[in-house]
Amino acid sequence: MGMTIAEKILAKKGGLKKVSPGDLVTVAVDTVILFDNNFMTNRWREVLKINDPDSIIVVFDHRVPAATQASATAHGIGREFVKRFGIKRFHDVGYSQGIAHQLVADHGYGLPGSVLLCSDSHTCSGGVFNCIARGVGQPDIVYAACKNETWFRVGETVRYELVGKLPRAVTAKDAFLQIAGEHGDHATMNVEFGGAGMQSLSINARKTLTTMAAELSAEFATFEPDDVMLEWVRARNAAPFEPVFADADAHYAAVRKVNLGALEPLVAYPDSVVNNSRPVGDAVGTKIDQAFIGSCANGTLDDLELAASILDGRRVASHVRLIITPASQTVYREALKSGVISTLIEAGAVVTPATCGACGGGHLGVLGPNETCITATTRNFKGRMGDPSAKIYMGSPATVAASAVTGTITDPREFLN
């Protein structure tokens, strides 16, 4: 019996010929990403020795520029860490600022066939580049920084075969919401994406799927390699790598076909991402106070362009705050050059610097009591973005932009057909 992509990388990095579901394996870690929250005084334990400074990347993303004195203190501790160990890949507030998982894409940090850890749950985002990328806890990330090693439980794998092409105004976010609504959580399991339909999806769109796999509680989410992805990585990182395909006789817990062409815009209703998707039509007319586009799931240039295509020549409804947070300053600069930012701002959107921001309720768009928000981000848990009485609907950037214009949850196909 052969192995899936995740199993093959785990075996290789664990120095084993074969791994199977149920095994516990110790593997070498190629890349370790620390971010600003790691350095908060209520979490940080001073690190005295590290194994390989060149394997470490430090990113300030959750609260940048500093949202509070506590986050400013954390940034200071982070800068000291960078200096002490001579970390070369450091993304401080400024030119190279961005959300860690977007920087992995911008800079080709996630090499195919490698192991990448970060203590943010959406680290699985990097699986778009055919690597084993996983969100772990703070103690895990400290351990990995000290030793370049970690443990994983090997889980079963579910494969999603993508076929066809998304209709206009339907996005990878809707494809995710379809999967999350139909199949619920994938706890203890890996998710593998492949199939001819992936060719119709940009790297940014694929990244939405791998990022959102965190909400399926997947262990790893990996795409099979193709030329588009390999060229993306080679253009950004000169380091050598070996892409990994699943064996032809790999064992899957399930193989499920996703017909992209048959999808429609969906929204997740408040308080849960999984088992909670409905056609946007069900929510149409729900009055909103805030609309938000951003995060590691939906802060790419594709997402901003899609929002701009709806907002071009229109205005955000007078009672709505539309907040747009590019996922990195690189994305922000590209959107600035192409005129997208101008379109968004002319429509009345507030464009913030690149940060996790309001997605985690940290800053730049926190919700008040009894407010309703529609968001194209990662999570809609109760209290996630601020007051626990706020209601958070989740949809695609197209659905969010269309809703911002009308002031109520709206089917984006009204604007994009």
């Binding site: 516990l24 929250n37 908060m40 005084t41 209520n42 979490r43 940080w44 334990r45 001073e46 690190v47 005295l48 020795k49 509070t68 506590a70 203590s119 943010d120 749950s121 996983r134 969100g135 772990v136 806890g137 703070q138 103690p139 895990d140 400290v142 351990y143 000290c146 030793k147 443990w151 439980r153 889980g155 959580d185 706890a187 203890t188 909400e215 509680s217 262990e219 849960s272 999984v274 985690g360 309720g361 940290g362 999570r379 848990f381 109760k382 209290g383 996630r384 601020g386 626990p388």
Partner: protein
């Protein structure tokens, strides 16, 4: 490693934002503990007695990497038994030395207030109140050892890789 105490029951897909809400983010670990489940079960954290056991359904601890397992430990709970435990949350349980084990039938086998006995070495869960015995999923020896040793920080501290605890880090 064995625990016996009364049980509190929570349902499926209990997420980290309920265990460690954003409002408590900047507080010290000790100050964060009373915030557990404040949004979905106000007043509950004050009723927890040292040693109490948490029983839950599918995918406990879904969500973020925040040190939510540490809050359950600091609240005084002795351990968690759930139908299944989110992978990232489970890592935090082991690493922060908060014992957690999966047991497929646990949710239906307990009413809140029943007394449970959870044996991590034997991987068994007993309902002392009702006389039921269940099998749990044994932790791999390496992870059980890590739990008993006090988690990853104890290990790294002994090896001289990290500095001592501070008042703020708890």
């Amino acid at each position: 490693m064995k625990f016996q105490s009364r049980v509190w029951k929570f349902g499926e897909n209990i997420n980290t934002d309920l265990i460690l809400p954003i409002q408590a983010f900047y507080l010290t670990p000790a100050e964060q503990a009373p915030w557990v489940f404040r949004a979905n079960r106000p007043g509950w954290s004050e009723q927890v007695k040292p040693g109490d056991i948490l029983v839950a359904g599918r995918n406990f601890g879904m969500g973020s990497s925040r040190p939510a397992a540490r809050s359950l430990k600091n609240l005084g709970l002795s351990c968690l038994v759930a139908h299944s435990i989110n992978g990232l949350f489970f890592r935090n349980c082991v690493n922060f030395a908060f014992p957690a084990i999966e047991c497929a039938d646990v949710f239906d086998a307990f009413e809140e207030g029943d007394v449970a006995e959870v044996d991590f070495d034997a991987a068994t869960v007993k309902n002392i109140t009702r006389g039921a015995a269940l099998e749990a999923v044994a932790l791999p020896p390496k992870l059980l050892g890590l739990l008993k040793a006090g988690g990853i920080y104890s290990l790294l501290e002994k090896e001289g890789m990290i500095g001592p605890k501070t008042a703020a880090s708890g």
